[in-house]
Symmetry: C2
Subunit: 446 residues, 2 copies
């Protein structure tokens, strides 16, 4: 009998694992159980689908179960795994369409149950018109609400990546948009000084931003009508609730799979869990942060795809490792491009580093070009060793891939001196002769 690989969760990590395992091992049976009605979708595309820029939800689905079947991967949607038995090497599965339950056997198991939106016990959070955004079903429901209910006022709770993208999506639908954020700044992953540029852009685009306000309740008569936060009432015909993500760790806990301090599945550099023949990858799992050397939880699609490949390779009898992440992320906030990598200044302090910073404003083009939009760069580094710890950038172009140069520098473990030596490309439409990265590095090195 051929070996049987069962994968629990069929989005980025799960389907990357399945595809890679199939490529390496032609004889293995590969079965994926996915609770939702879809596999292999690009969740990061949802705000653009809701905005209407991507016309159909099918467009963000990379491959269907039928397409996977042609590769010899059995992907079962609407199938929830209820329990894992690591000793018997079985899973208990419920077909959510028929209600029937069955037990399946596995030789190798990959846990890719992903993450879920954080939902604290706020009164009224279940009112119609309040949405979190994680699944295809969420995305479809939000766009339907916008198109059918024609809401006039949208409140976004949480000023992170999804909040930023959804502010733009709702604004495009003609809504008056407000953001309510618990912290004293938007974009909590950025330092306050860099987040200020984002706040300015939101204000410029007509978005009302209310900081330092914790949501106390939602009110409405059969559907949401207002958000109560910091004692104030904000009228709302639709609410996007996006205050963070947490690992879907219930199955792991039930099975005795070890979790890290943040509640994500602890994995080694082979994506192995503490139990034999069980790997984990993606938003349910930790990743090693290469700047701190410690496990961290930064759930992103890029990491999920890479970890999934590694888990799939190893489960299929190959050999692969995932060294870790440096915390690189980018987001478009209306006309502003925002990106970060490594540790922010405040994160570095929390991690116990001594911290120095160099912050400059240059441009994403030569200064003599008629249009030369400002580009803000902040470098975070250790004063003694000069070791680079992280960077943040805000501009109108040339931001996301410019941060990647610093991501590479963090992978290399460079100092600000080594950063300043880089032979970076130059042409007037793409950069000044001293690229903003070099300008920042030169300032750091003064």
């Amino acid at each position: 009998m051929s070996e049987r690989l069962v994968i629990i969760g069929g989005v980025a990590a799960g389907m990357s694992a399945a595809t890679k395992a199939r490529r390496l091992n032609r004889n293995m049976d590969i079965i994926v159980y996915e609770k939702s009605g879809y596999v292999s979708y690009g969740a990061c595309g949802f705000p653009y689908y809701i905005k209407g820029e991507i016309p159909r939800i099918e467009d963000v689905i990379v491959r269907t179960p039928q397409q996977f079947a042609q590769q010899g991967i059995q992907a079962h949607v609407c199938h929830e795994v209820l329990a894992i038995d690591p000793t018997e090497q079985t899973v208990r599965v419920r077909n959510l369409e028929t209600g029937k339950e069955f037990t399946d056997q596995w030789d190798k198991l990959i846990l890719t149950t992903g993450g879920a939106a954080v939902r604290p016990p706020v009164p009224g959070l279940d009112l119609p018109g309040i949405f979190t955004l994680r699944t295809v079903e969420d995305a479809v429901a939000i766009r339907r609400w916008l198109e059918q209910e024609r809401p006039a006022r949208g409140v976004i709770v949480g000023g992170g990546y999804i909040g930023m993208e959804m502010a733009e999506a709702l604004a495009v639908h003609g809504l008056q948009v407000s953001i309510v954020e618990m912290l004293p700044q938007v974009m909590p992953n950025m330092d306050p000084d860099m987040a200020t540029y984002v706040l300015q852009e939101l204000n410029h685009q007509g978005v009302d931003v209310h900081l330092d306000r914790r949501v106390e309740a939602f009110a409405g008569n059969g559907r949401v009508r207002e958000v109560i936060a910091g004692g104030e009432q904000f009228p709302a015909d639709v609410v996007i609730f996006s205050v963070g993500a947490r690992p879907n760790n219930a199955l792991a806990q039930q099975a005795g799979i070890a979790l890290g301090p943040i509640g994500a599945v602890a994995v080694d550099d082979h994506q192995r869990t503490n139990l034999p023949y069980i790997w984990a990858a993606g938003d349910v799992a930790e990743a090693r942060h290469l700047v701190t050397g410690k496990p961290t939880y930064i759930p992103l699609g890029t990491t999920a795809n890479k970890q999934g490949r590694v888990a799939g390779t190893n489960a299929a009898g190959g050999e692969a490792t995932f060294k870790g992440i440096v915390g690189t992320a980018a987001v478009k906030v209306f006309d502003l491009h925002v990106a970060r990598t490594g540790l922010s200044e405040k994160e570095a302090r929390v991690e116990g580093f001594e911290v120095e910073t160099a912050t400059i404003t240059s441009s994403s083009r030569a200064h003599y070009m008629p249009e030369h939009p400002p580009l803000h760069v902040k470098l975070v580094f250790e004063p003694g060793s000069r070791r680079l710890l992280g960077a943040q950038m805000v501009g109108q172009e040339g931001v996301a891939k410019r941060i990647d140069v610093i991501a590479a520098a963090l992978h290399a473990g460079w100092t600000t001196y080594e950063l300043a030596e880089l032979d970076l490309s130059y042409a007037p439409p793409f950069a000044p002769v001293w690229d903003p990265i070099l300008v920042a590095a030169n300032v750091a090195n003064r």
Copy 2:
């Protein structure tokens, strides 16, 4: 008496050296002699000035002699240095406006005489209407010719960076543009397979490209009327002659300063020449190529600025080194962004490397975005060691700074395995979840 630093040549390297020396050393006398009428200009902006995108020539001049004077730097334009006496530590100088000659003494000397356009002995090359493009005077003369003579047909001799940018500049002025190139491809710094995309863009924009044609003569009656190349006649009311640059090494030769095999001034990592108290930097000098470990001659403004700083630091009594370059360059060809770093496939073979390549076409945005322009990536690497040797990219956006990630990888001396591990930024408007760099690295690692 205070020490006296004389700098010969006042463009990128020279003025970087002067500025850095001034910052480090308040007491030194700093004198710059510049043959042309301008110092401190951004020569890379000339095509955009000629195109009309940059309105005034003053816009590409970073600082004037008057501004340098306020910093305590004496910058003399229209002053040609005729000879260097390294024993007496003097220079012989001619004021080109008055014709008067004088001798000046120096304690430290920095040679930043730059490069010149290659001008082979082609009959008719001196006809009015034929231009090379190196100096402010050249740029002004070309734009004046376009505006006053209203030429209908422009021929560009040489399909390199300047040729590409000038093709666009002339087309914007309404000219029918032809490119005549000696080699069987445009963009000789790219491999033929990648240069094909550039050729397609030129054709798409209505530029006639004639390859494999060496220019034999220019003909005309008092001004250029045609270009004769490969036995064929190409009508021309204006010609841009841009077949390469060579170091302005006459002064160095005269003074006994050692040149490298290509004729550029040989320098160590402190920008020192073989003679005491004499440094060289910029387009007159060599630079170490960090991939081959050998000196090379790739005259670019980015390198000139960095070398100038290092020469200025050391001449002023400080301590700085310039490790070298990896050959990074970018150019915009109409709507196409083109970039390269490291060695091309053919360069790597010439250097004696065993070569393997991985070439992919992905996109600069998530594939489900309604617009997701193609992005072509070619990686060049050593098959055994998997060491990365270079990369080329062509696309419509996200090219120049994406090549910089590979430039960083070359500085780090990485393999294709290390490249594939990078935590690169992702958001649907900026990249697919697998950045094209990672897609190419994964293909290389198969």
